[in-house]
Amino acid sequence: MTAVWTTIGVLTVVSAAIKATGPVLVGGRELPGWAARIIALLAPALLAALVVVDTFADGKALVLDARAAGLAAAGISVALRAPIIVVILVAAAVTALVRAVT
């Protein structure tokens, strides 16, 4: 248990430092134009990466499992303009269903 509590303590400090870095270093200054152009495109880049890694990665392995079916169902729900909460529940339900039958 000592390792667990030590990890929690150190990680609290490290994680807080990472999150504070941008806001403290950049301050309230407006960023230059080139930086603003990159930042405007960070959302599609990072969100797309989060979607595919959360769906197709298992540690360092690439896998095609029940989560892919859940994501596909979520995609259809998004296309049908379903509310966020419905999209999330559909993804979980389809993933659970596929796991139950395979």
Binding site: M1, A3, V4, T7, I8, V10, L11, T12, V14, S15, A16, I18, K19, A20, T21, G22, P23, V24, L25, V26, G27, G28, R29, L31, A35, A36, I39, L41, L42, A43, P44, A45, L46, A48, A49, L50, V51, V52, V53, D54, T55, F56, A57, G59, K60, L62, A66, G70, A74, G75, I84, I85, V87, I88, A91, A92, A93, V94, T95, R99
Partner: protein, 231 residues
């Protein structure tokens, strides 16, 4: 959802116009998925024979799902404290570019900015982002319901633990990619953003087998740099 922040001031002045209000409302749909993932985390931690207090304290003070899962799985595999912290730091390295992007939205001196920066989480960052400009009320406000969901879920998972069984059987791990897809969808209507999204996704997937977990997400930032250079 972004539009709620810009609604004309029809309400009476005072508490109702508290700037975080729109953010809290924007973050409410996130309480369920964060509760569900928090519950999964609590169950995982007690399955590794952790004292139930540990995951609960960790969710309060670390408050970062991906970093907590990463460090916990390293410890569960017999890794050292250093390895566990390093894995979590890599997973959370995306908050460096995200924090730089959102920096102009925070207020006050270095200490206050450092404190406000602690509210950075993926979903709030994406909700507050309007073409690279960030709404402070949403950035901070949308995190509050997620904090409640995250800590509450961990509490239930850690205390109910074995009674819940395997959270994966309920498909809870598919909730976050589905949520990120909802946030990504409007970006895909713009041709340049669509190209950057495809580039970021391809780069991240290509790196998964090669680099430690977490880094593929950070590396996807390169797609935004390439996209900006081509403008």
């Amino acid at each position: 959802m972004r539009a709620t922040a810009d609604r004309p001031q029809a309400r009476p002045a005072g508490v109702r116009n508290w700037p975080l209000r729109a953010g809290i409302r924007a973050g409410l749909p996130l309480m369920l998925p964060t509760f569900a993932i928090g519950l999964s985390f609590g169950v995982l931690a007690v399955s590794l024979h952790w004292d139930p207090a540990a995951p609960i304290v960790m969710s309060i003070v670390v408050f970062s799902g991906s970093a907590q899962f990463a460090s916990t799985s390293v410890l569960g595999d017999g890794g050292t404290v250093l390895a566990a912290v390093a894995a979590a730091a890599l997973v959370n390295a995306r908050f460096l570019p995200m924090g730089i992007a959102a920096a102009p939205a925070f207020k006050g001196g270095p200490l206050r900015r450092a404190a406000e920066g602690q509210t950075l989480v993926d979903a709030s960052w994406a909700l507050a982002n309007d073409e690279g400009r960030f709404d402070r009320g949403i950035l901070i406000g949308a995190t509050l319901p997620q904090f409640v969901g995250w800590v509450g879920g961990t509490l239930v998972g850690a205390l109910a633990g074995s009674a819940i069984g395997d959270p994966k059987a309920l498909g809870l791990d598919a909730m976050f990619p589905a949520f990120f897809l909802v946030l990504l969808a409007p970006e895909l209507r713009n041709r340049r953003s669509l190209e950057v999204a495809i580039g970021g996704a391809a780069l991240a997937l290509a790196l998964v087998p090669i680099v430690p977990p977490g880094l593929p997400i950070v590396a996807a930032s390169a797609a935004a740099v390439v996209g900006a250079l081509r403008e």
